[in-house]
Symmetry: C2
Subunit: 334 residues, 2 copies
DNA sequence: TTGTATGCGTTATCAA
DNA sequence: TTGATAACGCATACAA
């Protein structure tokens, strides 16, 4: 049986409405009474009942996050950051790993103040009839045109990377990315590459597009090892993800290739380089902190009932560090 | 503004208490009235308000899951299964990725019916004063002696595996596991190995204990490749995790080793083999379905207010498939 | 500065 | 078979 404000009131010898005010730090309560009440609440281990509060306030100070694919590691850092940001505004986040429809329904019953949806990229179920009184924000994929969406411009990211390499003289540039599933997010990166390379189809650059069988470290390793042992004309690599890059670096180390002297590398990446790699990577992408920031802001905005831009696209930035070098002449002749 | 039973009552021309009964499918309401009400509720997109319901019922039909380290992939399959199992009993699960203390506090305010904690293995904060009106169940690590815990017997798992290999004639058995962090869960596996091998310390078997630098596929790959290229006396490998095993298999494939003819392998594993490996692995561990089953049951039991065994240890099973073979004489001589 | 009364949406008890 | 009403825990407008 949990303790209520009435229990505190009894202990403190005041009315329970006074307790309610005191706990909310209202100026309508004298300091001594307030401190006394606070102390008793503390002692009794009082926890305000969210149900009761949200019933009267019509607000739960809670954001529901729909996360149907827990297995995927990538968004987990993002979630953590969003959680922290929202917490600073005294919002709690709660996750549901149910299917999107049922999760949204749950959150509606719980009267959360907003819902953030991490879409499943696999199946775009635009047909599903989502009913929600609560405002919804999508991240990643536009699944439902009725609700605003935030996404990052992956295509431009890879395009930027490619152009940069071209600017510093590279022509033989390889793109290593996962094209094994029909993940539109991964495909988009390839398109950015094709655009920068000024070709229509992937088949126009058979030697420069190196598909992997997944997004794991080892996939990058295999692709790079394969590429670098048999083909020496490549002077730069663009990697579609951080994990692939780690694999690529393992391959170059094994082959005793020096970065950036023998090979330039740019990695698509959102995550600030926490792990100490052998080298400071040149990366391209939208920093995850910026994504988290923008999502949190937008969430708070739609909670206020204000409307937001329907489709928010976050633009990537190139972060030039040590893993790229201009193409020197002696390199070209090798 | 969401629709309430009063809105439905008005539409249907009945009292709202009748609506309440009808929606709960009470026998106290005539069929025609019931169907009529149901229909209107449907049309209006009615969603029952959990706050109001749990306020009066003192029950939210919700289980809170504390999951402070979203990044870790391993438990995610488990959570998914538990979620499904509980859903079948009409319970909803909600996850929190906050720190354990704050997550538990949140769930208390939400008046969930039970809390499941996936402990952080890194820091055992037994000292933290956790206040909870709601019953708690720990999984993995016993962090707080006041609450019941479910765990799997990793030590026995590896011991079983080792003994089995010994039974079929192997003597030169290697254990590949992650000992890089001070993760007690991983350490426990090593102890099982040492017990079966009948030695006190890891230093007694320098050539047979192969530590990796992590639990990733590539870590297993490196360890195995290193081991198998320089040391040929090993006839069997016990792998501390499924991912390590995948790496090990890549190494053996590269080295053209035949499993089980040239080398026997047993993998620690909870997950039913979904991925089609080249070979049907002999595995040891507690099947994840069994873990999920037991956790769900226990959760439901403590929700009923009944007490459960304080420390539940799930015992592993050996699942002998194709990756192990008795040690033949010609092998021994090689 | 404190206390009283009302209502949030729902279930449950009792009366009709 | 239906309807009126109290109660859940809390916040708040209003009275004291």
């Amino acid at each position: 049986m949990s303790v209520t404000i009435k229990d505190i009131a009894k202990q403190a010898g005041v009315s329970y409405s006074t307790v309610s005010k005191a706990l909310r730090d209202s100026p309508l309560v004298k300091k001594p009474t307030k401190t006394k009440i606070m102390k008793i609440a503390e002692e009794l281990g009082y926890q305000p009942n969210v149900a009761a509060r949200s019933l009267v306030q019509k607000k739960s100070f809670t954001v529901g996050v729909v996360w149907p694919s827990v297995e995927r590691v990538a968004p987990s850092i993002l979630i953590t950051q969003i959680n922290d940001l929202l917490e600073a505004h005294s919002y709690t986040t709660l996750l549901s790993i149910n299917k999107i429809e049922s999760a949204i329904s749950t959150f509606n019953r719980f009267q959360v103040d907003a819902i953030l949806v991490f879409g499943e990229n696999e199946n775009d179920l635009t047909n599903s009839k989502i009913q929600s009184t609560v405002p919804i924000l999508y991240y990643g994929v536009q699944e439902d045109l009725r609700f605003p969406t935030i996404d990052v411009n992956r295509r431009l990211a890879i395009k930027l990377a490619t152009k940069y390499l071209q600017d510093i003289g590279h022509k033989q540039i390889a793109f290593i990315g996962d094209l094994s599933n029909f993940d539109p997010l991964q495909k988009d990166k390839l398109i950015g590459f094709l655009e920068a390379m000024n070709v229509e189809h992937a088949s126009d650059l058979p030697d420069m597009i190196i598909p992997t069988n997944g997004l794991e470290v080892h996939d990058g390793y295999l692709a790079a090892k394969n590429l670098l042992t048999k083909q020496s004309s490549i002077t730069a690599i663009i990697s579609g993800s951080y994990d692939l890059t780690r694999g690529i670096l393992r391959a170059t180390t094994e082959l005793s290739l020096k970065i950036p002297e023998d090979l330039s590398i740019i990695s698509y990446d959102n995550i600030p380089q926490s792990e100490n790699l052998e080298i400071q990577l040149t990366t391209v992408g939208v920093p995850i902190t910026r994504i988290a920031q923008r999502i949190s802001e937008t969430l708070l905005t739609i909670i206020e009932g204000e409307t937001v831009q329907h489709s928010i696209i976050l633009e990537p930035e190139l972060n030039t560090l040590d893993s790229c070098a201009p193409l020197s002449n002696n390199h070209e002749s090798s």
